[in-house]
Subunit: 111 residues, 2 copies
DNA sequence: GCAAAATACATAGCTATACAATGTATCTAG
DNA sequence: CTAGATACATTGTATAGCTATGTATTTTGC
């Protein structure tokens, strides 16, 4: 098998997929950046580089899909918490629809 | 909802996904380029631009995952048929494994 | 007590891929 | 005989993930 090809492919699959995962995670709860990386690693075994996440969150904010607020800690570095905006919620509905169709189409092809 | 964001997101999701779909389609049969675009449009509603497919097929060939042969037609333009190589078959097994895990992880998050 | 690792943010530069635009050539239908 | 479908291909652009790097604080191991 072509190892480097698969490695690169996995990275390409993440384009779009990560955005989708993060928005869905934020649907349930507010999270701060570092926590998102940890949560997703535990629940999906997907590793998100910090250099991927922080620019991504800024894009989502620019696109008005999420909002953020700084929360001071009694001890340690302040955390920036992210939450979906109403636009983010509506947008996610459409994304979930598209994903569902894509997924069932791929299921048929793989089987 | 953020329309342009969703449009762009769909394009990003295709990165990696298209490769995966095409390799799986070629698992069953040989196809030529134009035919692949048509087949996938019908079965998945996913539209692949020609400017996407032909460079993609060349990459797959460079990576030794597919092989191609020209087939002359009694009438009309010759067709370039693609088939998986042994390396392509082995590589696809690993990709299917990764996709299966990714998919079930996303299922849990979306639900 | 001090060094290493973990926590928590962030950016710059590199690379890979999808897409629009464009081009060539042949065949078919109105 | 012309528009559209068939069939290939390339060039340039934009996007997004990754590595490397940086700052700062806190915890853990020796």
């Amino acid at each position: 098998m072509n190892e480097t090809f698969v490695t690169n492919w996995k990275s390409q699959v993440k384009k779009g997929t990560l955005t989708f995962i993060i928005l869905n995670v934020l649907k349930e709860n507010e999270y701060y950046g570092y926590e998102l990386i940890e949560q997703i690693k535990q629940h999906t075994e997907i590793e998100i580089a910090e250099g991927t996440l922080y620019p991504l969150m800024n894009r989502l904010k620019t696109e008005n899909l999420v909002d953020s607020k700084w929360v001071e800690q009694e001890t340690g570095i302040p955390r920036k918490y992210y939450a979906l905006t109403p636009t983010g919620i509506k947008t996610l509905v459409h994304m979930n629809e598209y994903w569902k169709n894509l997924e069932s189409a791929i299921q048929k092809i793989i089987k």
